[in-house]
C-alpha cells in the first residue's frame, strides 16, 4: 500500500476477529458493582457500629447528675459541668473573634480585592493553612498566646487558637456565599450611585447572610470537637469550677472525654461515652440548624 495514499483501504470485513466474550465481562461488571456497593455499605455500617457502641456504653450513666456535676476522682460522682461551661466560654470567644475576621477577610477577597500580590499571597496562605495539622496550631497557640502574650492556659488562649484554626474554613465559605449573590444586585446598586461598600452593606451581605451563617455554624461545630490544639496549649483536664472570665483556666468537653478514655477503669470509659453522646448531640443540633438555614436560603432564591 502506498504510504501517502489516504484513500480508504480495501478493508476486509473481519468481524470474526472480534471475540467480545460478553459473559466474562458482565461477570466482572457484577463483581465491580458489588464491590462499589459493598464499600459504601461498609462505611455506613461502621458509622452505625460506632454510634451503637457509644449509645450502649454511655446511655446508662447519662443523667442530670452527669450534666450537673464537676469532675471527680470517683466515677459515680463525676460529671461534665465544668467541661460544658468551658466549651460554651471557648465557643463564645471563637464566635466573637472569628465571625468579624472571617467575614471581613471573605468580603475583602471577594468584593474589594484587585488582583495584586497581596490578594494572591492571602489566597495561597489560606489554602496552605487549611492543610496544616491542628496540633501545629496548638503549638503556635502555646508559643504565642500562652507564653508570648501571657494569656496563660486560659479560655482566651484556647479560643484564639481555635479561631486561627477555623478561619480558613470561614473565609472560604463566606466567599462561596458571596459568590452566590447574583451580579445583577451589584450592578443595580452601582447604577443608583452607591459606593461599593454601600452596595455590600445594604444588599450583598443581607442576601449572603444565610449562607455565611451556615458556614459559620459548620465551622463552630468543627471547633467544638477539636481536642488536639487545646491539649497542646496545655488545657487542664481536671477542673472543678466554671470559668468566670476569659482568663480563667478551663477544660472542654472533648478534653474531658479524652481524659476519661485514657483512664484504666471501665466506669470512666462509660462516662466518656456519655460525654460523647452529649457532644455528638450538640454537633447534630448545630448541623441540623445549618441544614435548615441552607434549605430555607435555597428556597428563597
Amino acid at each position: 500500500m502506498n504510504i501517502n495514499d489516504t484513500s480508504p483501504s480495501d478493508r476486509p470485513i473481519n468481524i470474526e476477529l472480534f471475540k467480545p466474550n460478553l459473559a466474562k465481562r458482565y461477570n466482572l461488571d457484577r463483581i465491580f458493582a458489588f464491590l462499589a456497593w459493598g464499600a459504601t455499605t461498609i462505611a455506613v455500617a461502621i458509622l452505625a457500629w460506632l454510634l451503637f457502641t457509644i449509645l450502649v456504653d454511655g446511655i446508662g450513666t447519662l443523667n442530670w447528675n452527669f450534666i450537673d456535676s464537676f469532675a471527680s476522682r470517683k466515677a459515680e460522682r463525676a460529671g461534665i459541668k465544668a467541661a460544658l461551661a468551658g466549651t460554651l466560654w471557648v465557643m463564645g470567644v471563637v464566635a466573637v473573634f472569628s465571625f468579624p475576621i472571617g467575614v471581613g477577610a471573605g468580603i475583602f477577597l471577594e468584593e474589594f480585592s484587585e488582583d495584586n500580590w497581596f490578594t494572591r499571597l492571602v489566597e495561597i496562605n489560606i489554602s496552605n493553612l487549611a492543610g496544616v495539622p491542628s496540633i501545629i496550631y496548638g503549638l503556635l497557640g502555646l508559643a504565642a498566646f500562652v507564653r508570648l502574650f501571657g494569656f496563660g492556659r486560659s479560655v482566651l488562649a484556647g479560643g484564639l487558637t481555635l479561631v486561627l484554626l477555623i478561619l480558613p474554613v470561614i473565609i472560604v465559605s463566606t466567599r462561596e456565599a458571596l459568590r452566590t449573590v447574583p451580579d445583577g444586585i451589584r450592578a443595580a446598586g452601582f447604577a443608583l450611585g452607591a459606593t461599593r461598600w454601600q452596595v455590600i452593606w445594604h444588599h450583598i451581605l443581607p442576601a449572603a447572610m444565610p449562607g455565611i451563617l451556615t458556614g459559620m455554624i459548620l465551622s463552630l461545630s468543627r471547633a467544638i470537637g477539636e481536642t488536639a490544639p487545646l491539649l497542646a496549649i496545655g488545657a487542664a483536664s481536671f477542673i472543678a469550677f466554671k470559668p468566670n472570665s476569659v482568663l480563667s483556666d478551663f477544660t472542654v468537653l472533648p478534653i474531658q472525654i479524652y481524659d476519661w478514655v485514657g483512664r484504666p477503669k471501665k466506669e470512666f470509659h462509660d462516662l466518656a461515652a456519655s460525654g460523647i453522646i452529649v457532644l455528638m448531640s450538640v454537633l447534630l443540633l448545630m448541623n441540623a440548624g445549618a441544614i435548615y438555614l441552607r434549605n430555607r436560603f435555597q428556597q428563597n432564591r
Binding site: I13, L17, P20, L22
Partner: protein, 268 residues
C-alpha cells in the same frame, strides 16, 4: 403510512423503525416515527431544535438506555432483528453500530490508545498496529498524526479530534455509523473534510447523520428525514417525523408545506 417513503427498495434495509416513540419521564420527546434506513447510504435527519432527531438517532444504538428516565416504545429492527428485544445485548449492539458525537470527545489518552481502546475491550484478535493505522487512514487522519501516535488525543485540533473519533468508531468494524451533528463544533474547512470523508465511508458503512445545517444535508445525504416539533397540552414540545424521502425530493418538491418552508429557510 405515507411517511415511510417507498423509495428505499433499491437497497437492503439496515434499520427499520415502526411506531417509535421516546419519552423522558412524563415528557414525550418524539412520537410515532416510521422510518427505514437503507444500507450503504447516507441518511440525514433535519429539523428545528427540540424535534427529537437526536433522540431517534440515539435509539439505534440504545444510548437512551443510559438515561434512567428514558422510555422507548415501538419497534426498531436492525438487519431484521428487534434491537429492543430482551435477548439483544446493548453492549454488543453498540459494537456493531458506532457513533460520533456533537462535540469531539477523544479520551484523555494517546492517539493510539484512543483507537485501540474499543478494539481491545471488544477482544480484537488481529494486529493492533495495523488496525490503528487502517482506521486512521480511513478517517483521513493518518498523515497528520502518524509521527505522534503517542501524543494525547486532546492535543489535536477540533477537526482532527472529530476525525479521531470517527477513526475510533470505525476501528471496531461497525456496520452503521451514527453521527450526531458531527460538524457543529467545527470550522468550515474541517467540516468539509468530514463531509468528504463521509462520502468515502459510505462505500462500507451505512451512515445516519443528524444536522442543523440544511446545506450539509443536501450536499451529503442520499435520503433526508424532516422532523418538526409541535406544542403539547402540557406546554412542552413533542417531535414527530414530517416527511422522509430521497434528499432531492425533500429539497426540491417536498410533499408537505412545512418541509417546504423549513428547507427554504423560512423557519427553524
Amino acid at each position: 403510512m405515507t411517511q415511510t417513503a417507498g423509495a428505499t427498495t433499491a437497497h437492503k434495509i439496515a434499520f427499520q423503525a415502526e411506531k417509535l416513540s421516546v419519552s423522558y419521564g412524563s415528557v414525550m420527546a418524539v412520537k410515532d416515527v416510521f422510518l427505514e434506513i437503507p444500507q450503504n447510504q447516507i441518511v440525514a435527519f433535519i429539523g428545528p431544535s427540540g424535534c427529537g432527531k437526536s433522540t431517534v438517532l440515539r435509539c439505534f444504538n440504545r444510548m437512551n438506555d443510559l438515561i434512567p428516565s428514558a422510555k422507548v416504545e415501538g419497534r426498531i429492527t436492525f438487519n431484521g432483528q428487534d434491537i429492543y428485544d430482551k435477548h439483544v445485548d446493548a453492549v454488543e449492539l453498540r459494537r456493531r453500530v458506532g457513533m460520533v458525537f456533537q462535540r469531539p470527545n477523544p479520551f484523555p489518552k494517546s492517539i493510539y490508545q484512543n483507537i485501540a481502546f474499543g478494539a481491545k475491550i471488544n477482544g480484537y484478535q488481529g494486529d493492533m498496529d495495523e488496525l490503528v493505522e487502517r482506521s486512521l487512514r480511513d478517517a483521513a487522519l493518518w498523515d497528520e498524526v502518524k509521527d505522534k501516535l503517542k501524543a494525547s488525543g486532546l492535543s489535536l485540533s477540533g477537526g482532527q479530534q472529530q476525525r479521531l473519533c470517527i477513526a475510533r468508531a470505525i476501528a471496531i468494524e461497525p456496520e452503521v455509523i451514527l453521527m450526531d451533528e458531527p460538524c457543529s463544533a467545527l470550522d468550515p474547512i474541517s467540516t468539509l473534510r468530514v463531509e468528504e470523508l463521509m462520502q468515502e465511508l459510505k462505500q462500507k458503512y451505512t451512515i445516519v447523520i443528524v444536522t442543523h445545517n440544511m446545506q450539509q444535508a443536501s450536499r451529503t445525504s442520499d435520503y433526508t428525514a424532516f422532523y418538526n416539533a409541535k406544542a403539547t397540552d402540557q406546554g412542552g414540545k413533542m417531535g414527530y417525523l414530517v416527511e422522509y424521502d430521497r434528499t432531492e425530493v425533500i429539497f426540491q418538491q417536498p410533499a408537505q408545506q412545512s418541509t417546504q418552508e423549513y428547507v427554504s429557510g423560512r423557519f427553524g
